[in-house]
Structures are given as C-alpha cells and as structure tokens.
C-alpha cells in the first residue's frame, strides 16, 4: 500500500520484516494465532488492538524475549526465528520498552556512549583504560542534540524528567543506527504535551529507518502510522492505513465499542 | 541388599526428612513473606534444643529455680521463647533492612548466628550434651516387622508431618493465609486496605523461628544437643528450599521429605556422598528447573 521508493534503494528488499503464520501458546491458551504481517522498509507500522489482543506478546516474539510456538520470523531476508536476543540487536533490530529503559546512574552521555561503544569493538577489552571511549564523546553529543538533550549530557539519567528519559532512550536506540526500531507504547501514561514531543521526535528520527510500534493512542497512530495492523484475540482483524482501518466495522466493534471514541 | 534393609533405611531417611521439611518450611515462610534469607535458622534450631535441655536439667543449677520443664512442656515453651527472640530480631534489626538487597539480611542473620553459636560454645560442651528428658511413654521400640524402630522417632515423624501440613493448609486455604500471601506480594497495597502488615511480618518471622525451635526440641532426644548442631544443617536446608522452589510452602515440605529419603539411601549405596548428594541434586534442579521443583518462574 505504502511503497516508499527511496527505502527500496537502501536495502535490497522492500520488506524488512515479515512473520509467517506466527503462533504463541501459553499453556493451552493461544495468545498469537497464525499472524502473518509484512513491514515495508522505511515505513511506520502501528499495531493496535484491545487489551489482551496479544500486541506485547507479538513484540516479545519478534525480539526473541519469547520463543514462538510455531511459524517464522524473517528479518532482512533471513530467518531469525531462533536467533539470540543480542544477536538480533547486532543486526540492527532494536526494541524499546513499555517502561522507560535507561541506565539510571549513568549520565546521559554515558547512556548514549554505551550504545555507541558496541560498534567500536572494544567492549570485552578489560585490559584497556576506558579513556579509549572518549573518542565517542563527539558523536554522543551529536546524538543527544538530535533529541534536544544536548544541555543535559552530564546529568544522570535518573534525574531527568519523564519525557526526557523517553528522549534519552530513543537517543540511545538511534545511536545503534538501527534499521528497524520496535517501540512498545511509546506514549503510554504521558500527558498530551509529552505525547506530542515524543510524536515529533519519532517523526524526526524515522528518516532512513523503519519503525514498528504498539500504541493505544489513536491520535498518535493517526499522525504517525503509514500502515496499521489491528490485532484481536491474537489474530489479525484488519490491516491498512488509518482511514481504512478506523472505518472498518469489525474494528469499530471490537476496539472502539461501536461509537467513535477516538 | 534385602528389601527389609531398604525399607528400614527409607524410614530413617524419612526421619531425617521431617527435620529438613520442618526447617525448610520455616525458612520458606520467612523468605516468602520477608524476602529475608534467615541464616540464623540453624542457630534457632539449636536454641530450641538448648531451651529444652536447660529447662529440663539446668534451671535449678543455673538460676536456683526449682522447676523442671518436661519434654511436652518444652514443645510449647521452646518455640515460644525462640519466637520471642524472633520478634526481637525482626523488630529491632531486620525491619531496617527490608528495602535493601537480600544479602544484607543474609549477613545480619549470619552475624546473629555467630553470636548465638559463640555464646553457647562458651557454656556448653561442643561435643554435645545428651537430653535426658525423653518421656517414658515414648522410650520403647516399635516392631515394624522389618525392624525395631524407636517409638520416639516414629512420634517425631508423625508430629512433624502434622505440623508441616497444618502450616501448609493454613497458608494456602484460609483467609489468614491469603492475607499473608497478599502481604508478600504487595505489602504497601495490603496495608492500604487496612491490614497490619508489619504485625503480620513480625508474627510470621516469629512463627518461622518458632518452627525451627520446635524442630530443635524434637531433635534433642535423638541427637546430642550441641552449639554447632545447626551450623552445617543450615546449608543443607538452604539447598532443600532452593530445590523445592524459594518461597513455595509445599515445595519446601515435599522436597525436605524427598531429600531426606535420597540422603538416607545414599548412605547405603555410597556413604561418602551422603552429605553432598543434595548439592548435586540442587545443581541439576536449578539447571533444568531454575525456579525449583515447585517454584513459579518469575
């Protein structure tokens, strides 16, 4: 639906992530049932659905925090169904968490540096001084500035206000130069003001990357998403852009409760 | 090896097992509710035994009180005294540690263990003092067909089993129990509902400590009463709790009994490993069932 031509150039395949008949059972209860989804390179793909639809579970499957009961996950043309979590991250598939995930007692700069450090290849070198990491400071600062945290480089993460923690988390994620970012409810529990900050931020960083996000806030979804997949009871209920999905009677029934609540 | 011998050994294993069960039960209750690893549990077991001993034969000599606390009374008195000590420890010390890492509780109780053991080593023979107060009515032997079994040991088995399963029943099937479990899971909220969690915590600790004391009294007529009787036992009991699943009440009881049996049979087939077999099992269990046999994965 949403062919992004320039994305196709950057990567050989226009589909960066695909699940084929993915399934997850919890002791006789099927949380994800036969879900096949394709994510276009360079798009923002949102996942919505009522509580307990299986969104978080689906995410956990993608990042190997849970093992699928059946089906396949194809990332960048390769089957990653049975890869290790860290291995996936090294291939450029990075997730964020529903609760904010920073390293609380490190400064903002160090938070970003931890991400940058991985590509430097010195992380196992316990015999070298950590001063070798100073070469990353410039890049860390640049990344912080991208999310408007330039002035807070020396502040400990724990002391940052909520919205800025979110921003820092995104900065850390970007520092890894991810090709695909998975965001789980990036605006959950935020005030409207913080929501728009984060929405802007996502818009800003999406350039050249693909994002898959779980979101309850339909405003955010409407603003950001190119494609929306609606899950219900572990199955795909509908898929398409916002207009298609939000007018789908089945979605209105299951998600909004017949009248428009959005 | 004849089936009689195996049966006899299994029964002896069960005898050891009930002590494991009772101690690990107390430990599990305390860990479950307070998130404290009570290293002093072994010392409390020792204390229980000593209270029985002192109450029976030393009150007069030491304090000039002409009173003799017999075995049956000790079954009540010793757990109560150990429980009161538990209250003091919890109220005065452990209370300040709940927010901190587990290891501080472990360390504190380790310190308390050293103190208790040291104190008793100063006044008592480390090589053990016999407890003379075993009641006449239990002093015989029972002919089980395949062996003569001391009546007292049989009594200890039955008595402990009753205590263990009663405790389990209270915790799993009564309102008191559900309140305790709620207090474990979310103490703040439980308090906000109007339940006195600090009191519940204190009493639970006292109860766990009392169980150890009770086990000590039961052990006194079987083994020598010695200041170090709890020292090595405690490590084994830790292993039992871990195998059963940290915080799982039934897990603690059943694995205590089962490991007593395993240990008993190891003593027949490969005695040198008797004191280590539990640790082998613990490694295996943790490798294949990280949360223990009965524990829930987090």
């Amino acid at each position: 639906m949403n062919d992004q031509a320039e994305g196709t150039q950057a990567t050989p395949s226009p589909i960066i992530l695909e699940t084929r008949n993915l399934q997850k059972d919890f002791k006789g209860f099927t949380a994800i049932n036969n879900v096949s989804v394709q994510v276009q390179t360079g798009s923002i793909h949102a996942l919505i659905g009522p509580n307990g639809a299986g969104k978080t579970t689906f995410f956990n499957l993608l990042t190997q925090f849970l093992k699928p009961s059946a089906g396949q996950i194809i990332y960048d043309g390769k089957d990653i169904t049975h890869s290790r979590p860290a291995g996936i991250a090294q291939k450029g598939l990075i997730r964020s968490f529903q609760i904010s995930a920073v390293f609380p007692h490190l400064s903002a700069r160090e938070n970003v540096r931890i991400a940058l450090q991985r590509t430097l290849g010195v992380s196992y070198q316990f015999w070298r001084s950590k001063r070798v990491l100073d070469q990353l400071n410039e890049e860390a600062q640049a990344t912080l500035e991208l999310v408007e945290l330039g002035d807070f480089a020396d502040t400990k993460a724990v002391e940052l206000p909520y919205g800025q923690k979110r921003a820092l988390e995104i900065a850390t994620t970007i520092a890894l130069k991810p090709r695909l970012m998975l965001l789980d409810e990036p605006t959950q529990g935020m005030s409207s003001e913080d929501v728009s900050t984060v929405t802007d931020l996502i818009k800003r960083v999406v350039e050249g990357r693909t994002i898959v996000m779980v979101e309850h806030n339909l405003n955010v979804v409407a603003t950001l998403a190119d494609t929306i997949t609606v899950l219900n009871r572990g199955e795909v209920l509908a898929e398409g852009d916002y207009d298609t999905v939000s007018t789908n009677p089945a979605v209105m029934e299951a998600y909004m409760g017949t009248t428009d609540a959005a | 090896m004849s089936i009689q011998v195996i049966l006899a050994q299994a029964l002896l294993g069960l005898n050891v097992g009930v002590f494991y069960a009772m101690l690990s039960l107390g430990l599990a209750v305390i860990f479950g509710l307070l998130n404290i690893i009570n290293f002093a549990h072994g010392a409390m077991y020792m204390l229980g035994a000593f209270i029985a001993l002192i109450g029976y034969s030393l009150l007069e000599q030491w304090f000039g009180i002409s009173l003799q606390i017999g075995f049956w009374a000790s079954l009540l008195v010793a757990p109560v005294i150990v429980g009161i000590l538990g209250v003091l420890i919890e109220r005065l010390m452990l209370k300040r540690l709940y927010e901190l890492d587990h290891i501080y509780g472990l360390l504190l109780t380790f310190g308390i263990t050293l103190i208790l053991q040291g104190l008793f080593s100063n006044y008592f023979n480390v090589s053990g003092t016999p407890y003379p107060g075993q009641p006449e009515s239990l002093s015989g032997v029972v002919n089980l067909g395949f062996m003569y079994f001391p009546t007292y040991r049989l009594f200890a088995i039955v008595f402990s089993l009753v205590v263990c399963f009663a405790t389990w029943w209270v915790i799993e099937h009564t309102k008191l129990g559900s309140r305790l479990r709620a207090g474990v899971e979310n103490p703040d909220l439980t308090q906000a509902f109007g339940l006195n969690v600090p009191l519940m915590v204190t009493l639970t600790f006292a109860f766990g400590a009392g169980l150890a004391g009770l086990a000590g009294v039961l052990a006194a007529p079987i083994y020598s009463v010695s200041p170090l009787m709890g020292a090595d036992l405690i490590i084994v009991v830790f292993a039992v709790v871990v195998i059963g699943g940290m915080g799982s009440i039934m897990g603690a009881i059943l694995s205590g009994l089962a490991l007593g049996l395993v240990e008993g049979l190891t003593k027949v087939f490969y005695p040198p490993a008797a004191s280590t077999v539990i640790f082998f099992l613990m490694v295996l269990v943790l490798l294949f069932r990280p949360a223990g046999l009965f524990g829930k994965e987090k």
Binding site: F103, S123 | Y104, L108, F110, A273
Partner: protein, 306 residues
C-alpha cells in the same frame, strides 16, 4: 583523587610492613585482600553474589600445591597453574550459573562449590582432612630463596599488586562500563545488543582467576593446602570482608580483609568469644555502617566537598 592517595598509602604500608609486622601474617592478609578484591569485582561491579568463591581459592591452592610438590614446578609456575585451574573452573561454574539471577545464582555457586569441597575431601591427592602438606616454597626464578621471609613477602606483595592492578583496570575499562550498564538495567543492555551472559561470564572468570591466584599464593606461603580454604565458611568470610571494607569500592576489600583478618587474629585467644565479637561487629556493620569503612570515608569526604 581519594583513590590516588589511598593507593600511595597502600603502597607505602605494603612496602614497609615487614619492618613492623610479622611478615607471614601480612602475607596472609594480602592473600585475603586479593581474594576479597576479586570477589568485589563480581558483587560490587557486576552485581553477582557468588557464594562459592572458596572453590576457586581452595581449588587453586590444591593444584599449586600438587604441581610444585609432585611435579617440581617452580613457585611462580605453580601459582600460575593454580590460577589457570581457577580460570577453567570459573568458566565451568560461570557457564552453569550465569543464567540464574540473584539468590539462585548464589545458590548454584554454593552448590557447585560444595561439590568441589566434596572432591577435595575425597580425591586421593588432596590428603582429605589432613590437607596437602609440605608444599615446597622453592626458589623464585631459580635464584631467590623463598624460605626467606622477606623474599617471600615481597614476592607475595608483587603478586598482590599485579592482581589488584588487573582488577582496577578491569573496573575502569570499556568492559567495566558495559558491566556497570548491565548491573543498572540488564534487559536494556541486552536489547542494545550486548551479550549480557558473555559479559557476566567474563567477569566471573576474571574474578575466579584472581581468587585462584590468591589461593595459590597462600598455598606457597603456608606450604599447605587445606579444606578450610575450600569450605563454604571461607566464601562467607570473603563476603564479610568485602562488606566491612565497602562493597563496590576499589580499596574497600583490602581494608575489610585487613580489618577482619587482624581482628580474628588478635582475638583468637578468647576462644568462642571471637565468634561473638565478630558476629556483633557484623550485625553493627549491617545495621548502621552499611557502606563499609571505605564507603563511609568516601561519603564523608564528598560531604565535605559538597
């Protein structure tokens, strides 16, 4: 800053110790200090509580004792062999334990250590309860006679400094940074692409190796390898030393080892009262003195500045 001052203090104290103290005793303290530092690397910087470190300390001692006594290894080579053994053992323990968290981790390490203890008791070459006795001190580089107390002392002090240096560097290395990140937020570190288990394992192996180095050195000093070193109480003691000195501080374990070591030595004439006194100290430490000696000093220092 404080670290530099403390380091100079330690160096001076270490170099002059034989002038005013019984060298063998100081050597013993140095071994425990190194052991505690190694342990602290794991608990203080990687957040992993091992309750089985005695296995490395004691295990290495047996190996060192055996190779120097039976195979005629030189003392240095013997010590290296002991440390290498601890390294391998650490890799095995780590492989088995690293996936477990918190108290379970502690318990797996304890269980594994109990098995090593069992082997130390049962294997023929260890001498069972008698221990492995009569380990020769030998000559360092074939030249320096280590039966001389002073020569031995400076040899041990050098080993301590090397071990201490390795730990200090590890803490302040890129690897140390990742360790800290893992301790702060493990799943985030994982999602950033760090193989958390590998990092923990490496930290575990380094810690085990250095604990082994300490145990191996001790075997040469006392010409003795015994079950005591492998017993779980030794694992408990090293925790206590680390905490008394200050968990997660560079010098804390050194100070803690010296304090606890000196205390038990000075009080040994009091029989069981030693236990009572040590127990009381620990209770007091845990209740009111939780940062440990160095931790408290650092807090006071930073307060004055702030």
């Amino acid at each position: 800053m404080t670290n530099r001052i403390l380091f100079i203090l330690m160096l001076v104290a270490g170099l002059t110790a034989p002038l005013y103290a019984y060298p063998v005793f100081v050597m013993d303290l140095l071994c425990f200090a190194l052991f505690a530092c190694a342990f602290n690397l794991l608990l203080g910087y990687a957040g992993l509580l091992s309750f089985g470190h005695a296995a490395f300390f004691g295990g290495a001692a047996y190996i060192t004792g055996y190779v120097t006594k039976e195979w005629g290894f030189t003392p240095l080579l013997g010590i290296l062999a002991g440390a290498a053994f601890a390294m391998v053992l650490g890799a095995v323990f780590g492989f088995l334990a690293i996936r477990r968290q918190g108290i379970y981790f502690a318990m797996v390490t304890l269980a594994l250590a109990q098995i090593i203890y069992f082997l130390a008791l049962q294997m023929p070459f260890t001498g069972g309860e008698n221990g492995l006795q009569g380990i020769p001190r030998g000559h360092l580089f074939g030249l320096i006679d280590l039966t001389d107390s002073n020569a031995m002392y400076y040899f041990v002090f050098a080993i301590f400094l090397v071990g201490f240096g390795i730990i200090y560097r590890t803490i302040n290395s890129p690897f140390g940074e990742v360790l800290q990140a893992i301790r702060e937020n493990e799943s985030r570190a994982l999602s950033l692409g760090y193989d958390v288990d590998h990092f923990k394992l490496l930290a575990f192996v380094i810690s085990a190796t250095l604990a082994g180095l300490a145990g191996a050195t001790k075997a040469i000093i006392f010409q003795f390898a015994s079950l005591t070193s492998a017993h779980w109480q030794t694992s408990g003691e090293v925790i206590l030393m680390t905490l008394v000195g200050g968990l997660g501080t560079v010098f804390g374990p050194v100070v803690g080892a010296i304090t606890v070591g000196a205390l038990s030595h000075e009080l040994s004439a009091f029989g069981s009262w030693v236990q009572v006194i040590l127990g009381t100290i620990f209770v007091v430490c845990v209740l009111v003195f939780r940062r440990g000696i160095i931790g408290e000093i650092q807090r006071l220092a930073s307060r004055k500045q702030g």
